[in-house]
Subunit: 441 residues, 2 copies
Amino acid sequence: MSKPTPLSGFPEWLPRQRMVEQRVLDRLRHTFELYGFAPIETRAVEPLDQLLRKGETDKEIYLLRRLQAEADEPDSNLGLHFDLTVPFARYVLENAGKLVFPFRRYQIQKVWRGERPQEGRFREFYQADIDIVNRDELPFHYDVEIALVIADALSGLPIPPIRIHVSNRKIAEGFYRGLGLTDVTTVLRIVDKTDKIGPARVQEQLVEFAGATEKQADLCLELAQISGEDFADRVLALGVRHELLDEGLQELTQVVEATAAHAPGLLIADLKIARGLDYYTGTVYETTLLGHEQLGSICSGGRYENLASTESERYPGVGISVGVSRLLARLFNQGLIDASRQVPTCVLVALPSEEVRRECDRIAAVLRRRGIPTEVSPTAAKYGKQIRYADRRGIPFVLFPGEADEHEIKDIRSGAQTPIDINTWEPSEEDRFPRIVTSQG
Amino acid sequence: MSKPTPLSGFPEWLPRQRMVEQRVLDRLRHTFELYGFAPIETRAVEPLDQLLRKGETDKEIYLLRRLQAEADEPDSNLGLHFDLTVPFARYVLENAGKLVFPFRRYQIQKVWRGERPQEGRFREFYQADIDIVNRDELPFHYDVEIALVIADALSGLPIPPIRIHVSNRKIAEGFYRGLGLTDVTTVLRIVDKTDKIGPARVQEQLVEFAGATEKQADLCLELAQISGEDFADRVLALGVRHELLDEGLQELTQVVEATAAHAPGLLIADLKIARGLDYYTGTVYETTLLGHEQLGSICSGGRYENLASTESERYPGVGISVGVSRLLARLFNQGLIDASRQVPTCVLVALPSEEVRRECDRIAAVLRRRGIPTEVSPTAAKYGKQIRYADRRGIPFVLFPGEADEHEIKDIRSGAQTPIDINTWEPSEEDRFPRIVTSQG
């Protein structure tokens, strides 16, 4: 065969990058578990009607077909999931009798989007999600908790500083209704395009398609520009009143105040956050990486009242999703994050001759039993060549076996070589496993 | 929507089972890293010609098609990978310039098989693979090392005892050639059916399709029945001689002797192991779970000389793959393995009233910063009800907040309640995180 080439949209990392990715996923998992979130994984596929049931026809879906399908076999009607929220809602309904509610889960898996090949967007990527759902009603304090968890999870990562932007769908909806605009969905959809088409065209479209006067359109635009600590006063200063607006302002205030106490400066109210036309009904979260704002939101979510429901049951929820692959691709491409070496190995046992390989294996086994990642040299080449083997991989130590357990170890960075007892020698905690190194220090 | 139902062949676990699966995968990963294997993940999809290039037309493959494909858009020609070895070979060729050889990697991912829906077989499952490849030639000592690694990896798992069965393709091939049978592939294929169709029919087919005499067919069957320590003597006693046979016997002896020294009783020579008609060319491994032999091999692999090659480059390799989902499904179904609780939470902070939720969040934050998984109660219900919340999930401790940091903690299993300082209190290591519990004790 000829040399294969990468597939656009399906990123693959080198081992040292995969080590970074693993540590980032481990860190997220650890934080989620500290908050009591239990893990699940869902299958990669869902029936197509599940994937399409929220009318999200803009989701690009990959359908599956068996290569060896028989002529009369019906279509599998299965598609790869495009997010983890829709499969989670299905899982909750399917397993409701076996779960305990409120149910807190995290889920870290790849998702797929059947994007047009030429667009150069990711077609396979990792998401790390947390959600809390309950039967019938979910108390509002969970909207606050999700913000606290994600603040801890992201600030524990070796990434540039972040800022969480929060709004509440009830604010916009209450405001539009208070203004007398009844086609809330259309208004939201148009206002959400402000960054793309600019305020002038948004104003025109609000007048043309949403039945707004110029004054009403102005106020809608002004609302979306409000952010920061005094957001509630500034909204009220626009002079619009509605019960739903009050509820939204009060909820958003709670999220902002609780997070300010827990992690000052990390989260701001920002009323332009709308999360498209998704299933969200209250709080909505987006997150920017400071200095990388053009990357868009690296972590988004919100409250959904109706995603997981049957005719007889209802499981409202709130959750958030970290776009791990997109975040890491950016940091890798800009050289901002790396692993301290390219293999897990901490010690290379040098091989004096092929005849003593079993003896060297036993030395390695002693170190491994003590939790020190160890390899034996691939060949009994000259020691200089064996040291180069370690050096090319970033392995910090080479052990030279001696007679009667009198071994020596060389730190190949400093060149220092000392006798050791393999039953007690320890590398520094810095050297034992590969570490993440960032260009921020 | 109506209540969803499971999809046959796509297993999903409850949270407590997923915790067990995570710990099993963590344990495998840790062992692989102790041996210096570096992690990679490959994309879920490969071009169809890659998936089919070893002529393995019996592999059941899922093809992808974009739901929103345009009429004139060519087929994606992408399929989901059915194992991790074929994608790994492709990854090595694609990234050869950026990797260091010999290249040792592990890879833990789901794979998919487009099996007929009615067969009830897994269509999505986890595999955990290790492989070592080198440019041009790979020394034989790696065939020994793979056996040592997998012996450590599997014996470190909370599963019933295992036995690794090893053979070497060169033995059968050399033996058949020494006998004068030249259509080695046909002989192998027929002998490999012994368990299915019985020795009498194998004998008939060897005579009919492989041009064997009855005597030759008898000897082929006798060879496949040899296993255990004195295998080499018993093979030679059959009176057949061939250079390739000698090489195979000598290689197999090395694997058996080295593993016997490292982990006595774990590995046996077993000449009936053939690994179907796969890409293996030398050592082949299979693994049975003692007491669950009818489950088949839970961990298989071998040496392959020609899987990763282009016109100008060749990367021989040796590796092995653990069938994690199949193994766990068995243990779950038989009630042999479980988690000690169904959530990560170790401490539930009871909530005296909704007004003091922020204060209870702060108590929880102190415990979490000290690495203790902690939740705050969902409601300020009566304490009896809050204790039941913990009990239903297996959360061992409930903390009752007091005035001026005078808190008490109750072990709800013993009922013992004591005052604690949240800055110093520690649960036992047994209680801090959920553990795996096995019915073997």
